[in-house]
Structure formats: C-alpha cells, structure tokens
Amino acid sequence: MATRQQTHESLLTKKMSDESYITLFMVGVLVAVFSAASLAVPNFYLPQNILNLITNNWYIVILGIGVTFIMITGNFDMSVGGTIALTGVLAVYFSQASNVSQNALANGLGLPYGVAVALALLGALAVGGINAFFIAQLKVPSIIVTLGTMMLARGVAQVITQGAQRNTSLPAVFGVVGSWTVPGTSIQLSVLIMVALIAIAYFVERKTVFARRVYLIGANPEAARLSGINVGRYLTILYLVNALLAGITGILLASEYKAGISSRAMGYEFDALVIVLLGGVSIMGGFGSVLGMFVGAIILSVVTSAATGLLLSPDWQFTLKSVVTFIAILGQRFALDKRKG
C-alpha cells in the first residue's frame, strides 16, 4: 500500500507546464530588454514610465485577449481593427443630434447614449456573426473570412463618415468613459477595464471546461469532434466574444477622442497578432496563454518606447517591431526545443 501511494505521488510529480515555461522565459526577456533600455535611456526606470509602458497599449491588450483564444483554436481574426472603427463610428452617428446642421456629417440619429452604445455593439457582433457563420458553418479558412470582414467593417465606417470623421453635435456624456481617470492618478478607466478583462480571461483560461475545450480544438480539431465537442459552437462563441471585445475598445477609443474616425485602429489587428505571438501562442493552435500575451505586449511597448527615447526616428518603428518579433519567436522555439530535448 505504501509503495502504491508512492507511485501515485511520483505520477503527480509537478512539472511546470510548457505555457508557464514560455511565459517565464518571456518575462526573462522582458527584464533583460528593460534593463538594457534603462541603462541607455535616461529616466526609463522611473515608476511613472513603467506605469505608462504597462498601460499605454491597453487597446492592443484587450484585442490580444480575444485573439489569443482564437489562435489557440488554430484560427485568426484580422477583422478586429475594422470592427473598432465601425463601432466607434456607429456610436458617434447614433449619438449625434439629429437635424441640427446643413452639414450631413454633423447630423446623427439623436439616440440616448446608452442606446447608441448598445446598437453600436450590436454592429460589432454582426461582424463577429459573419465571421462565425463562414468559419464555423461553411468551414472557410478564417484568414480569408476575417480579411474580408476587416474591409467590410471599415468600408461601412467609411460610408457613414464619408471617408472622414464625425466629431460634432455630440452630447457631453459621450466623452466620459474615455477620459475618466482614477482620482489623483493618470490611470484611465480603459486601463482598469483592461486589467479586469485580463484577470477574467486568466481565470477562464485556467479553470473552465470552456477553455479546456478551446485548447482541445486547437490541438486536434478532428479528435475534438470525435470526442463529442461541438467545434462550430465554440468557434461561434469565440468570434462573437472577440467582436464584442473589439466593439468595447471601439466605444472607449471613440469616447476618448470624442470622434468617430473611419481610419481609426488601422493595423491594430497586426499589433494584436504580434503581441500574441510574442507571448508564445502557437500559430498551429493548442498552445498559449493570456498572461504570455500580456508579457508580449509589454515587451513590445518597452522596445518601441526605448527606441523613441534613443531618438530613433519613428520611421523605424515597423522595422524594429519586426526584428523584435523575429528574435523573440526564434528564441521561444529554441527554448521549447531545448526543454523537450
């Protein structure tokens, strides 16, 4: 009996999961990059700067949460940037007072703010619904579908704004959520929302049957189906949630700028993709974590911010991002291969 007990204990030998290992590896990279930047750039290590590094990219992080889950199923969502633009423009258009000006761009529907936000979020869900229909029901590759809806969402936003922006005749309440800060600090409400969403996502990822099945779908979709998982239903839920997250981001950004801009959030889908990959999420699916994605976001933030501090021209931003991404992902592959022997 004693030996039995012993065998069980050895079977339980707790080994860190590969996800935690990669996240820790990226934390190491973050510390290294941050230390180097602190040596090179004056005042880089100050608490206020650290806070900025963590909070400045809240919108990319919120997008990254949904994109992480979607990539864990082995799929993509390139429509999030367009969805942000669409939701922001819709929220503005629905909130603008009606019949107040000769200028068509100054007239909206005059709906109450709450109703306008709800309807705008429905617009975001519509984009998610189209994604889900084509990907989950018709089995079209997600990269194709979401590239299509990316242009569709932005296209509709452009029509509503006539290719420009809407920023007049807005009620005062429109700007509140985007500009409210925690009293006595510079922390925006949006950042609090980001932190709350990260916490929820981390909990869901680690504790729920839902997330477990998301991993199973990514690890082997056919085995998942034969294990009784309704793959289509899970993909549908994920694309709807992801669209909703993009929609919330769109509302917050529109409120912060008090404008609905059709070119808003251009390229955010790629930024979200970059931080997700930096965070160690596998493009093949079945592997990755929300916490890793968050670390990836901070690394990207440190690198771009340090480059600006070193007076590197902003023209170098893209090149820099690509170099960081390449090095980080090669590093991860190396570390994982080494670990698995």
Binding site: S10, L11, T13, T208, V209, R212, A223, L226, G228, I229
Partner: protein, 496 residues
C-alpha cells in the same frame, strides 16, 4: 547465368521495430519479366517489405540484389532511379496538369525555366500510346478515371526504363471493366522488359494474373511458387493463415438476449443496406479486409459521417452526431489514433477526461484534484507506463497511446464501446492487455464492437463475427470452436 534470370533477390531480409520482427529472415527471388504476387494477412509484413524495397525504411539486416548488384535505396527517389517504381494507392499524379505534363513531371527540359517541347515528351507520349491509345496526351489529368491515372503512372515508370513496378492494391478503387483493361496492360508489360510485384487482397486476381506468388505470414516467408502449381484459393488461404489456433476464446456464461443496438438499412457512399442487432454485453467483431467498409460503418454509427437508415440504441432512435452518440452512451476508439483519437501535444491528464468533462467539473469549473485522481485511476487500471501524468502523449509508445485513447472512451462511461483496429501497430504484450480489458468490460455488462482486419484478433475475443466485403455485410457467424477460418477468408476476399 542464374542471376540474369532473377531481377530481384532478397536474402535473409530482417526488419525489427521495437517489440516486433515485422520482416523476419525473409529470402526469395523474383524472376525477370514476370508478374509476382505478394499475399498475406494484415501484419504479415507485406507493406514493411515493400517499404524497404522503395527506400522508405532501411532494413535491420540481410541483403537485396537488384540485377545482381547490391541494392540499398536511401529514399523513394533513390529507389526509382535505381529501377524500382511504385504505384501507390494514393496516386502520384497532379490533377491540374495535362497528361503529357504529368509524364515529364520532374524531368522536364527547360530553357530559362520555361518548358521546352522536346523529343522527350514525344517519346513519353509514344510509350503511353503503346500502352493505352485511348488517352489524349493534352487532356487534363483531373478528367481521367482512377484506372486511367494509374495507366499514366505506369507509362511514366515504363518510359523511365524501370525494372520493377510495385503495384499496391491497384484494383481497390476501379470498376470491373477497367480492371480487365488494367490486367491486359499488366500482362503486356513483360514485353517491355518490366517485372511487376503485385499486391492484392483479392485472391482471384492472383490466379488470373500472377506467374509466381509469395506468401508471407507473421513476418516470415512461407512459400514462393508458380501460381500454376497452386491448386485453388483454399490452398492459398491455408498458407496465409497457417495453423493459427484460436484457443483463447471462451463463450460467455449466460448470453443476454436483449438487443441493445439495432441497425436497419444503413447506407452511405461506402455502405450498402446494412442491418444487424447487437445484444447487451456481447462482443461483436466486424471483420473484412482493408476497404471493406468497417471504418465507415463504425463512423456512421457514431454519427461522424453521413448515413441513411435507422439506428436504435437502448430502444431510442439515435440522432446523428458524435456529441449525441456520446450523450446516449456510445464511444468510438477511432482507426487512426494519432490523428483522430489523441491530442498528441497535450499531456495524459489533458487527454483522459475530455469526453466527459462533467465528471471532473462543477458548473463549468474544473476541479483540478478530481481531474488528477481520475487520470491516475485510469493510468493504474489500464497499466499505462509513464513516470508522470503530465507527460506529453506524443512521447508514449503506440500501445500506451492506445491505452490513453481507450481510457478517454472508458471515462465517458459508455454502454457501447466501438473499437476500430484497436491493436494496430502495437506490440504483442500491449495487444493481449487490451484484449483482457475488452473481455473484462464485457463481463461488466458493456457492449463491445470491434472493427478489425486481423482475423486472430476477431476470433480471440468476439462472440459474434460479422463478415464484410465491399461495403456489404456478407455473413454473420457465432464464434465457437469449429469455426472455419478458411471459409471466412473465402467470403471476405469476395467469394460466395
């Protein structure tokens, strides 16, 4: 002079996989310009032998002489260059190109990367015309039938002056009239100085086509003789199965009479009008050769594939769909464990509970302690050898992987367990462990359906044996001591 008559000489060939001698000291010669048939049951070592000849595997020991010279191909391309081409069941033609483009594929004459029409194309086309005049060289390959595509591949091999063409079940997917045409072509190949190694489960074809036949059994060479010297198919079957003794089977003590599963008029693209009943705690075996429709039947019952007809389980009509089947109490151990059964990048703990997450969770939240203890429970019960439940399943041996898949299905608490090729590619020890698990489950009152192309497996464990051929249920037998394995092989190879 002797060596000139033999195009291929196989001497003491040995191939060892962990736990199994797949090809065990095999020696025989193949005479030049003949059709040499290779027969044996699944697992007899045919495919391993072929894979050595085509350079997919390297032998563990022994020699192969091609035209009297040492032959030791490093890869399939190397084998082809040295003179052995293969016609696989999965054809190697490019549908989007024309026939003549396919003929010269990989050896085109080019100028700055552009295709040049040279004599080479004309030569190839001439060879093909001499084999089969009815194919237009400008035709798109996608518009050809399977048999015509095979002919294109044969022509390509002949034009490349190959010595030997290996044909692996070439008639499995083509129609009767096309088979006749293919046979005529194969017979004519000897005039083009080509030897054919022909593999087929349809024994009649061997008598119709073959000059020589080699029988393999359990990795060993049984005989090589001219087909003319073999009396009839029963003699061939006797050599294929040998004196296999099926003494392990003991009939259940109190056979239960309630039909738990009723299948009525089940048909789909591979199945024709299948009806049968399975009784509670019965072990039903479905035996047939590769392509007989066993996997398709299992997948249809499980709801993984489309079907017409009606399935009743425990008195209720079964709705199609794996999630519905699992909810009703049916699980499937699929044919391909790595691609259909296992989540190879996940751990043992990540695999075992997936079919019944409700048992380890409350309101959608996983109880980690329950998950671990349930996993350990199954690692114990099925004797899965591992040092940790956190081990990635990709790193387990085939037998242990299969036990994980089996645990996954058992964890779902199903009343009917379907197993498709449950012991394929796993060693003897793990096999017998799996058989005893199956018997024990049946004693516990579970109903088992085994779909297998290994007759000893079916005879060892099954109470009832269903014979399938070409999507049709041909016969049902009760397993007992005087069951006639020759007759069984007769039926599943297309006899009446």
């Amino acid at each position: 002079m002797e060596t000139q008559d033999n195009v291929l000489e196989i001497k003491n060939l040995l191939k060892v996989f962990p736990g199994v001698r797949a090809v065990d000291d095999v020696s025989f010669d193949i005479k030049r310009n003949t059709v040499h048939c290779l027969v044996g049951e699944n697992g007899a070592g045919k495919s391993t032998l072929i894979k050595i000849l085509t350079g997919v595997y390297q032998q563990t020991g022994g020699h192969v002489l091609l035209n009297g010279h040492e032959y030791n191909p490093q890869n399939p391309r190397d084998a082809k260059q040295q003179g052995i081409s293969t016609l696989f069941q999965e054809l190697n033609v490019v549908d989007q190109l024309t026939v003549e483009e396919n003929l010269t594929l990989g050896m085109e004459d080019t100028w700055l990367g552009f295709l040049r029409r040279t004599d080479k194309i004309n030569k190839m086309v001439d060879v093909m015309k001499s084999i089969e005049p009815s194919i237009n060289p400008r035709q798109q390959v996608s518009s050809l039938s399977v048999a015509q595509k095979q002919i294109v591949e044969i022509a390509k091999a002949v034009a490349a002056e190959t010595d030997i063409i290996i044909m692996d079940e070439p008639t499995a997917a083509i129609s009767e009239s096309e088979i006749e045409r293919l046979f005529t072509i194969i017979r004519n190949l000897r005039e083009k100085d080509v030897t054919v190694i022909y593999i087929s489960h349809r024994l009649d074809e061997i008598f119709e086509l073959g000059d020589y036949v080699t029988v393999l059994r359990d990795g060993c060479h049984i005989t090589t003789s001219p087909v003319a010297q073999i009396e009839d198919r029963s003699e061939l079957i006797r050599m294929m199965i040998g004196k296999t003794v099926f003494d392990e089977y003991t009939p259940p003590e109190d056979p239960c009479q309630d039909a738990v599963l009723q299948v009525r008029h089940l048909s789909n693209h591979r199945l024709t009008d299948i009806s049968f009943d399975v009784k509670q705690s019965e072990i039903a075996g479905f035996y047939g050769l590769v392509g007989a429709g066993k996997t398709e039947l299992a997948r249809a019952i499980f709801g993984a594939d489309y079907y017409e007809g009606e399935i009743t389980f425990k008195g209720q009509t079964l709705q199609p769909g794996p999630e519905k089947a699992i909810a009703a109490g049916i699980t499937l151990v699929p044919e391909e464990r790595r691609t259909q059964g296992l989540f190879t990048i996940l751990t043992i703990r990540g695999n075992i509970p997936v079919m019944n997450m409700g048992k380890i969770s409350h309101n959608g939240f996983i109880n980690a302690a329950q998950e671990r203890s349930a996993t350990i429970d199954y690692v114990d019960r099925l004797n899965i050898s591992t040092n940790s439940i956190e081990k990635e399943t990709a790193k387990l041996s085939g037998g242990n992987q299969q036990k994980v898949v089996l645990s996954k299905c058992l964890f779902a608490d199903a009343d009917l367990l379907m197993l498709d090729e449950p012991t394929r590619g796993i060693d003897v020890g793990a096999k017998s462990e799996i058989y005893s698990i199956i018997r024990e489950l049946s004693r516990e009152g579970k109903t088992i359906m085994i779909f297998s192309s290994e007759l000893p497996e079916i005879m060892n464990v099954c109470d009832t044996i269903y014979l399938m051929y070409d999507g049709v249920l041909k016969d049902v037998l009760k397993n007992n001591c005087d069951i006639d394995s020759e007759n069984i092989l007769h039926i599943v190879t297309g006899g009446n």
